[in-house]
């Protein structure tokens, strides 16, 4: 598994995700500056890290989504390559048209930064094979704009095609209003592209890979990817 992490001005979780990738794959990912027009040869996975690209100016992820490197990411995804967008990376994927919908301001206007359970909706994708279907993993969330909104028709397609990757849930795995930290439609925490090779999610699995920081539930995602290619 060869991975590359695209770095934008204002990205701030690239180091965390690089560490998680190195733990899972045994090699550090290539760091790619957003102005690059090409990805390193032989890359299997491209990660768009969390942060506040371009200071969240205009709309979260809007300017980063138009960076040169994103054309290469789009081409990579079109070839069937894996793409993972975490937090701001998820916002960038939506703004860039790689995933449907949009991430709006949290329902109660507050920035949420806490531990959160999310339910693994399917365990048969390149991103989730190391988990069990229905498992309620504990990861960190930290965002002000994580309220996933999408039109009804697209929502029906996402559900029908099994493209919801993770939902916010309680410790027992129940998806409830009380467990929803930001007002996301249907408790959505992450979604897949049509071919299941692009995943965007708001939570930060890269921050839960080391027992030293209180949990390792995030490792499964990187272990799954390490096995996928």
């Amino acid at each position: 598994m060869r991975a590359a992490v695209v770095v934008f001005p204002g990205s701030n979780r690239e180091g965390d995700v690089a560490r998680a990738l190195k733990l899972a794959t045994g090699r550090p990912p290539d760091m790619v500056w957003h102005a690059e027009r090409d990805l390193p040869a032989g890359v299997d996975l491209v990660v768009l890290p969390g942060g506040f690209s371009y200071g969240d100016y205009l709309r979260c992820g809007a300017i980063a989504a138009r960076a040169h490197a994103m054309d290469a990411v789009r081409a990579h995804a079109a070839r069937g390559g894996y793409v993972l967008g975490i937090c701001n990376g998820f916002q960038i994927l939506c703004e860039g048209g790689l995933l449907p919908g949009v991430l709006m301001r949290n329902r109660d206007l507050r920035f949420v930064s806490k531990m959160q359970r999310i339910r693994v909706e399917r365990a048969d994708t390149a991103f989730t094979r190391a988990y069990a279907k229905g498992q309620a993993i504990e990861v960190a969330i930290a965002h002000g704009e994580g309220n996933y909104e999408v039109d009804d028709e697209t929502m029906a397609r996402l559900e029908g095609e099994g493209r919801v990757a993770f939902r916010y849930c309680d410790a027992a795995g129940a998806v409830t209003e009380a467990a929803n930290p930001n007002g996301s439609t249907a408790g959505i925490a992450g979604i897949y592209s049509e071919r299941l090779n692009v995943l965007g999610l708001m939570p930060h699995p890269e921050n839960l890979v080391d027992p030293l920081v209180g949990g390792t539930d995030g490792r499964g995602l990187f272990d799954s990817l390490a096995r996928a290619a």
Partner: protein, 79 residues
């Protein structure tokens, strides 16, 4: 040539910022405000000399970047 682009949320899209402003106005004692929707204004200077060219440029700007047409509408006014 100068122009103004106004970007607003489509009706039906929840606008928590507008709601918060609405509540703040109420708590300030500003009476008679039924609802508030927040948007953005862009004042743009254009190289184009003709109106049609300016409008075409701005339409491209809105579609490509200024508005997220999934949830936002835009209005172009060329001065």
């Amino acid at each position: 040539m100068k122009a103004r682009v106004t970007v607003t949320l489509k009706s039906g899209v929840l606008d928590p910022q507008g709601k918060a402003i609405e509540g703040a106005l109420r708590s300030l004692g500003v009476e008679g405000v039924a609802s508030v929707r927040q948007g953005k204004v862009f004042d743009v200077e254009l190289a184009a000399a003709d109106r049609a060219g300016a409008e075409a440029t701005l339409k491209a700007a809105c579609e490509k970047l200024l508005a997220n047409v999934i949830v936002e509408n835009y209005r172009i006014e060329v001065a």
